[in-house]
Amino acid sequence: MNIELNNIKPNYMSEAEISASDIYLQKSILFEKEKLYLIKAGSGRGKTSLLNFIYGMNLNYSGTIRYPMHSSFMSFFDLRKDKLSYMFQDFKLFQNLTTFENIKIKNSITNHKTDREIIELITKVGLKDKINTEITKLSLGQRQRIALIRAVCQPFDFILMDEPFSHLDNENIKIATEIINTELNKNRAGLILCTLENEYYFNYHKKYKL
């Protein structure tokens, strides 16, 4: 599955604001499967907006987004189920569930991973002792790691990541990068990563400035 953007423009941003963008209002931007893309921009440039447009969470834009490999009509539900994964900037974790439950609730849609695989991933990011802790008792950095694991608990052709490592130290970023690379290979999937400054350690196919 490839994703193609044509003439995308958020309705709530003026043309002047996005005039320097490599993506907004460009005729055709193609994100290909199995390739890694970096989108870099300062705050307020519409990074999260762009990912939300692609994910179908925000439809307040002009232009078209096409998922050409799937020409027949697919709802965003179908798309999200096993084509598109999204690691949200604000995590979107459930406050009154535990670490493990927060991952399970996502995994149970497709049963993509076994409990053992999930526990292995939690162990890998160093949160094994927090497995049955309520999410509210975790630090932001810990929550970010849980959100990361949750994002890979589904099959996907593309994974969208919005500031995925903003609360992590270098040690943890390395571990997280490793996990994502493994999952990208397994799924033969592409990555679209939005970030402010830090480019992290991926081998990007292309870098855009928003």
Binding site: F88, K92, N96, K104, I105, K106, T110
Partner: protein, 397 residues
């Protein structure tokens, strides 16, 4: 338990669901019971109306000491009949045609009823007043069967007086209608044998009725020729039985009117008012409890809209998000209506044991279960549609 269920169950408010259950049980119980009572009791109220097609009453003159001396004063003159007919509340007037021959009824001494032999009298009124199926209420020249309608009082007299004291079996309307007996007509030096069966019981007309065409034929064949027919009572049909001018008119002319019907209308009115009241009350309770739970649930969904959006955003279909709420509300509603249906049925069994003495007709059908199931289905369908629509709206907004 699946995580999504745990997550969503924690959003529910038990006291709200309990309140909903209790009020809905009360509402549905009242409405089911009211309808069943109405259905069960209505034969008592309308049994008579089934026999006669119109609003009718029998009018006769007061029998006073003077009239017993001079019988002619008890009869209606043509002028008086015309006067009655002119009244605005009278739609039609008919006279009784009496038999002018001798009639005997008897049974062959077989079967399980006691043999009897008795003198009888017949009268007829126009067939249009009688609302019995034409199959039952017909006679023709080569037919040896005469259908008859007897006063209900005769049966009561037999059941409560005669049978009781003589140790004879009690007879219901249904059993007595099964019995065939013989009729012998005689007069003019000839005799005729007929079969007969009772096809109806009347509490309004105190006479034994036979079809009019039979009466004419029989009067002609067996009757005393040229006998002057005296009219001692007439049958009136009201255009409006609750007309105020009616009572003064009958009193001024010292006419007797069999006005059971009027009393009866009052009882029916009271009964129906009670039924309407309870139905209205029940509908109100049901509507309140339904709107309370719908609004309550919508409030819960609104309060947890972030949870719903998050679920939607991590890949749940809005139908999957709605499922738990649908199941919880459907199951509770199902349990509630089942309890209401069972309670209504118990109540019905209790009162119908007592009603059996009063109602001779076959037991009425049970509407509780069918009606209860219909209400349950409607509620569940409505809830499910509302919940899915609401969650879709919240998730995708």
């Amino acid at each position: 338990m699946k995580e999504i269920n745990k997550l969503q169950l924690s959003t529910l408010i038990p006291s709200q669901l309990i309140g909903y259950s209790i009020s809905l049980i009360i509402g549905i119980f009242i409405i089911l019971t009211t309808f069943q009572v109405y259905k069960d009791v209505s034969p008592l109220l309308s049994g008579e109306e089934k026999l006669f097609s119109k609003d009718i009453a029998v009018v006769s003159k007061h029998i006073t000491i003077f009239k017993t001396l001079d019988k002619s004063k008890a009869y209606f003159k043509q002028k008086e009949i015309n006067n009655i007919e002119k009244q605005p509340f009278i739609k039609d007037i008919a006279t009784f045609t009496p038999a002018t021959y001798k009639i005997n009824a008897y049974t062959n001494s077989s079967g399980n009823i006691p043999p009897f032999y008795t003198d009888l009298f017949f009268e007829s009124i126009p067939d249009s007043y009688i609302d019995i199926s034409p199959e039952q209420w017909k006679w023709n020249n080569n037919n040896k069967f005469i259908p008859i309608i007897i006063p209900k009082d005769y049966l009561n007299l037999y059941n409560f007086g005669f049978a009781e004291s003589q140790g004879l079996p009690l007879l219901s309307e249904n059993t007595i209608s099964e019995i065939e007996f013989n009729i012998r007509l005689s007069g003019n030096g000839t005799k005729g044998e007929f079969k007969s069966r009772i096809v109806g019981f009347s509490s309004k007309i105190n006479t034994i009725l036979v079809p009019l065409n039979f009466m004419k034929w029989a009067n002609n064949k067996y009757g005393k020729r040229n006998k002057k027919m005296n009219i001692s009572r007439v049958l009136v049909e009201f255009s409006n039985p609750s007309d105020d001018r009616m009572t003064p008119f009958f009193e001024d002319n010292s006419y007797n009117i069999n006005n059971d019907k009027l009393e009866y209308n009052k009882i029916i009115f009271l009964f129906k008012s009670a039924i309407y009241f309870f139905t209205g009350l029940a509908i109100l309770i049901i509507m309140l409890s339904v709107s309370a739970i719908v609004l309550g649930l919508f409030l819960i969904l609104q309060r947890n809209q972030e949870m719903i959006k998050n679920l939607y955003n991590i890949g749940y279909h809005y139908k999957q998000i709605a499922r738990l709420y649908q199941i919880v509300l459907s199951v509770i509603t199902l349990i509630v209506t089942t309890v209401a249906i069972v309670t209504s049925t118990i109540v019905r069994n209790t009162y119908s044991n007592r009603l059996e003495y009063l109602i001779t007709n076959a037991k009425q059908t049970n509407t509780i279960i069918v009606f209860g199931i219909i209400i349950t289905l409607i509620l569940i369908v409505v809830y499910n549609i509302l919940i899915v629509k609401r969650i879709k709206k919240i998730a995708t907004q």
